[in-house]
């Protein structure tokens, strides 16, 4: 976007005269906002374009979960996206990993094409959803991969349903970084439905850019989809879900439970993650968070990807996919 402020004409009369006023008008300041998104049309969540066939399954509680199911293998990986995202977050991984594994990616409740009933948004809630989803697809045990908030949900799942999780893949996971009570309260107060709903376009763009060290051009859909969804029928519910998800993460910390994880765990961080640790509250090196998770989770291995940001599976898919392959072999 190019913002051009044109102070088109300012006329100031230096000495006011009775008989001959020069021109004492302030014509205008014209704000011209040239947006490349001006032609985007309104879109409903159901109209989101996914590059894979989308299926839906109804859970015990009536929620409908959208998912893609690719590949033929007994080795199953279930991918869980992060905050404000959807299953397309994994498209560069699904397309490759399906060659060796059965890869399933879901839209969490409230996100993407899944139903938009209101819910608590806690990691435990999401872990229940994933467990129910596995029941519905008759998957007894699977490898769970979670990105960011999805990583915290994967941790919660492995703790609550240890028998359902074979191995854990944590991509830039939330839940390792700790927050003080004051910081948690700040999160609770700053996250509001209206705030999410009214986020201006330039901030939406900045939010997406912040996920990358060097945002790839083909990530642009993350911005355009988000903008086009602003007038969707269920957009308020989506915003509510985002807020609940943030509150859920701070209300149900898992860092003290990490030593209880028994499954083999792969932790992957981008070395230049601008979201973890929180750049305002806990600025510092992302690798330190990775090392902390590596120490707390007894059977874990850590991969740090250089020149890579928070959305590592999308920014450096080759490296991430290879790390996953090596981990699951």
């Amino acid at each position: 976007m190019v913002d051009v402020l044109v102070s088109s004409l300012i006329i100031v009369e230096l000495k006011m005269r009775k008989t001959k006023l020069y021109i004492s008008i302030f014509l205008a300041s014209i704000l011209i906002a040239c947006s490349p998104y001006g032609n985007l049309t309104k879109m409903e969540f159901e109209e989101l374009q996914y590059p894979f066939e989308v299926n839906k399954v109804e859970l015990e509680d009536g929620r409908k979960i959208a998912y893609v199911d690719e590949g033929n293998s007994n080795e199953v990986i279930i991918f869980v996206h992060g905050l404000g995202s959807y299953l397309r977050a994994w498209e560069k991984n699904i397309s490759e990993l399906k060659k060796e594994f059965r890869v399933i990616a879901i839209d969490l409740p409230g996100y993407g094409k899944s139903s938009k009933e209101l819910h608590p948004g806690t990691p435990e809630f999401y872990s229940d959803v994933i467990a129910q989803f596995m029941d519905a697809l008759e998957i007894d045990k699977a490898n769970i991969a979670g990105h960011s908030m999805g990583g915290q949900a994967a941790i919660a799942l492995s703790l609550k349903y240890p028998d359902r999780v074979k191995r854990i893949i944590l991509a830039a996971p939330a839940g390792i970084e700790e927050f003080t009570e004051g910081q948690k309260e700040w999160f609770r107060e700053v996250m509001t439905v209206q705030g999410v709903k009214l986020t201006p376009v330039h901030q939406l763009r900045a939010n997406v850019y912040a996920n990358f060290y060097n945002m790839p051009d083909d990530a642009e859909f993350m911005i355009t989809d988000r903008i086009a969804l602003r007038e969707a029928e269920k957009f308020d519910n989506y915003c509510y879900t985002v807020v609940q998800s943030v509150k859920g993460m701070v209300d149900q910390p898992v860092v003290h439970l990490l030593p209880k994880i028994t499954q083999p765990t792969l932790i992957v961080f981008g070395e230049n993650d601008n979201l973890i640790p929180n750049p305002y509250l806990n600025p510092g090196f992302t690798a330190d968070i990775g090392r902390k998770g590596n120490e707390l989770i007894q059977n874990s291995e850590l991969v740090i990807i250089p020149e890579c940001g928070h959305f590592l599976q999308f920014e450096k898919p080759e490296v991430f996919n290879e790390a996953v392959r090596n981990f699951l072999r």
Binding site: L5, S7, I10, Y280
Partner: protein, 247 residues
């Protein structure tokens, strides 16, 4: 507003001036990518009329202009990892109104040219800096350079030491006048500077700044150096800043 315009003969005068310009930017805070651009162009045009026996007649035309262009490149993880170049230009006038034209820039007040007060260029002594107490008496204390005009710029290199928590910056700045003052030359000065920033807590900054300025032959002129027979000593500054945004 009334400007003091130096006339060869003291007369009652009237000056009517229009400012016309534009300002634009792209990604000024490196939030949307690696490149950042920012700049403005501003002109002042009009005329000065002097009074004779109750009649005002045109004494001189006014046309001056100023421009700025900043370009930055973010080479690392955070917005603190960048290299930025900032260029300034302001037209000058060497004979005031004697040629019936005034070609200097009228800023209204120090660095108050419509288009913004410029304190974010990274210099401390050559150009005004927002954190120094003498920001209104920098070597070039006004974009117009007391009507003589100037061309100059800064080059700054900033590097994050701890992501989003600490960074360091080094910079250079140089400028010359568009017009030589009586007894002096065009070179105003060359500055080197450095700073280090550390954030001990949220919205709290501790900064150490330092800068040294080699004054040029411009300051050999008594008309700009305060009437001294020799060029003043080169100035330097070292200071610590503590910032805490409380809300």
């Amino acid at each position: 507003m009334v400007f003091i315009v130096s006339l060869s003969v003291t007369k009652t005068y009237r000056a009517d001036v229009i400012w016309l310009g534009t300002h634009g930017n792209y990604n000024p805070e490196f939030q949307l990518g690696q490149w950042s651009f920012n700049g403005f162009f501003m002109s002042n045009l009009g005329e000065v009329k002097t009074e004779t026996n109750g009649d005002y007649k045109k004494a001189a035309d006014i046309f001056g202009y100023a421009a700025n262009l900043r370009a930055g490149y973010k080479f690392g993880q955070t917005a603190d990892d960048n290299i930025t170049i900032d260029l300034f230009f302001a037209s000058g006038d060497d004979d005031n109104l004697d040629d019936k034209k005034y070609n200097g820039v009228l800023t209204g007040n120090n660095w108050g040219l419509p288009g913004g007060i410029m304190v974010s260029h990274g210099a401390y002594l050559l150009y005004p800096h927002g954190n120094v107490v003498n920001r209104y008496v920098a070597a070039i204390n006004d974009l117009s350079n007391i009507g003589l005009g100037q061309i100059g710029g800064t080059l700054n290199f900033s590097k994050s030491l701890i992501p989003n928590k600490a960074f360091a910056k080094v910079g250079v700045a140089a400028a010359q006048s568009m017009v030589e003052p009586n007894g002096g030359g065009k070179m105003i000065g060359t500055e080197v500077n450095a700073m280090i920033n550390y954030k001990p807590a949220v919205y709290m900054d501790i900064e150490l700044h330092g800068a040294y300025l080699w004054l040029g032959d411009f300051y050999e002129s008594k008309s700009v150096n305060g009437g001294m027979d020799v060029k003043p000593d080169n100035p330097f500054t070292v200071f610590v800043v503590f910032k805490w945004l409380m809300f």
